[in-house]
């Protein structure tokens, strides 16, 4: 495993403030029917902690601008910054990133940012990750890092997706030695043995590390999903200071 080159004083950092930096698109790959994986080369990238995100800024020829946040999907040990963007049909930015962007294009980014919704092997565990839809993206970074660091922190992932073909990061999810529970909300194959339907208190009770084991819980996905899950976790006795949330808004895809 190669260690990343960590630059603390690149073009993105001047006087400690964080400026917009042009990143180059190295590759664009379909991740699922709805989601696209973008590999970026960001000059001066300061290195990230799993769970951090960056902001993307698009500028139209008439000066009109749109900004959105995307979690970093790659681990800090990986050579490039990867994003996974799910397309919202009526969205402004995600259709551009998933359908228009080409290898070699430049994209303005600002990051990594967000020192709260982060996990690093030194922070220990047990680790409980709960994702709805593209809310799994920051967890792919955490799982990659946990492996690369040879961490033996017990980890579980509860991941709610519409159907099997919508599973983002399927390779990582299949390969990890963390315990994975996949919940399918819309469509499941006839042979499906796992849980289906909405992630509610009963399902959380059955599949999440119990409060007595004092897990660090991370919940990420569309706002409605995150709020429902966080409320149910508190009901189950998880203390609020051990439950961290990242709401994606209506973006990030329905679960």
């Amino acid at each position: 495993m190669t260690t990343p080159t960590v630059t603390t004083a690149g073009p993105a950092r001047r006087g400690g403030r964080l400026l917009w930096t042009p990143a180059r698109v190295r590759s664009v790959q379909a991740e699922t029917a709805r989601a696209t994986r973008l590999v970026l080369e960001v000059p001066g990238w300061a290195g990230h902690v799993p769970g951090q995100h960056l902001d993307v800024r698009l500028t139209a020829p008439d000066g009109y601008r749109a900004k959105r946040s995307y979690s970093v999907a790659s681990g800090p040990e990986q050579p490039h910054v990867e994003l996974i963007v799910e397309r919202l049909p009526d969205g402004e930015v995600s259709p551009y990133l998933t359908q228009q962007l080409r290898v070699g294009d430049e994209l303005e980014v600002r990051g990594p940012v967000g020192g709260w919704f982060v996990w690093h092997a030194s922070l220990g565990g047990p680790l409980q990750l709960i994702a709805g839809g593209s809310g799994v993206v920051p967890f792919l970074s955490m799982l990659q890092h946990r492996e690369a660091a040879g961490s033996d922190v017990p980890a579980r992932l509860l991941y709610s997706a519409r159907a099997l073909p919508d599973v983002i990061g399927a390779d990582r999810v299949a390969a990890t030695d963390a315990g994975v529970t996949l919940v399918l909300t819309r469509q499941a194959p006839a042979t499906w043995q796992g849980p289906t339907g909405r992630v509610d208190a009963r399902l959380l009770h059955e599949h999440v590390v119990p409060p007595d084991a004092r897990p660090q819980v991370f919940v990420c996905g569309p706002t409605g999903f995150v709020e429902a899950v966080a409320d149910a976790l508190l009901e189950l006795g998880h203390p609020p200071e051990r439950v961290k949330t990242e709401r994606f808004g209506t973006g990030g895809g329905a679960t």
């Binding site: 006087g15 400690g16 403030r17 964080l18 400026l19 902690v49 951090q52 995100h53 960056l54 902001d55 946040s69 600002r110 990051g111 940012v113 967000g114 020192g115 709260w116 919704f117 982060v118 690093h120 030194s122 922070l123 709805g132 709610s160 909300t185 909405r198 992630v199 569309p222 706002t223 409605g224 999903f225 709020e227 429902a228 409320d231 961290k244 949330t245 990242e246 709401r247 994606f248 808004g249 209506t250 329905a254 679960t255």
Partner: protein
């Protein structure tokens, strides 16, 4: 789960509530101004006296400015906007910010 399913369960609706975010999402814009990540700071609310990390506040990002509200009392704690080469920041709702200088969200 679709947002309309959730309406039936009373857990969310398709209204503006479904677009609110965590304070953590304001980390980028605030780094235009601050050289450290103030989003991890513990903030004492000037309205109710409760203390919570700014990252755990509720962020409304569809307004003329970013509006960060207290998770306990919903009072406005921070407002931030930048346009036309100017940044404006209102912290009247934040009585106290306590920042950990040892690490800037970067363990190790």
């Amino acid at each position: 789960m679709t947002t309309s399913d959730m309406t039936a369960d009373g857990t969310a609706d398709e209204g503006p509530e479904s677009r609110r975010l965590d304070g953590n999402a304001a980390a980028g814009p605030l780094r235009e101004l601050f050289s450290v990540d103030i989003i991890a700071a513990a903030c004492t609310c000037a309205h109710c006296g409760g203390t919570t990390a700014l990252a755990e506040h509720v962020l409304y990002a569809d307004a003329p400015a970013l509006v960060l509200r207290c998770p306990s009392c919903t009072g406005v704690v921070l407002r931030y906007a930048s346009a036309g080469g100017q940044a404006r920041l209102d912290l009247t709702g934040a009585r106290l910010l306590v920042l950990d200088l040892a690490h800037d969200g970067r363990p190790g």
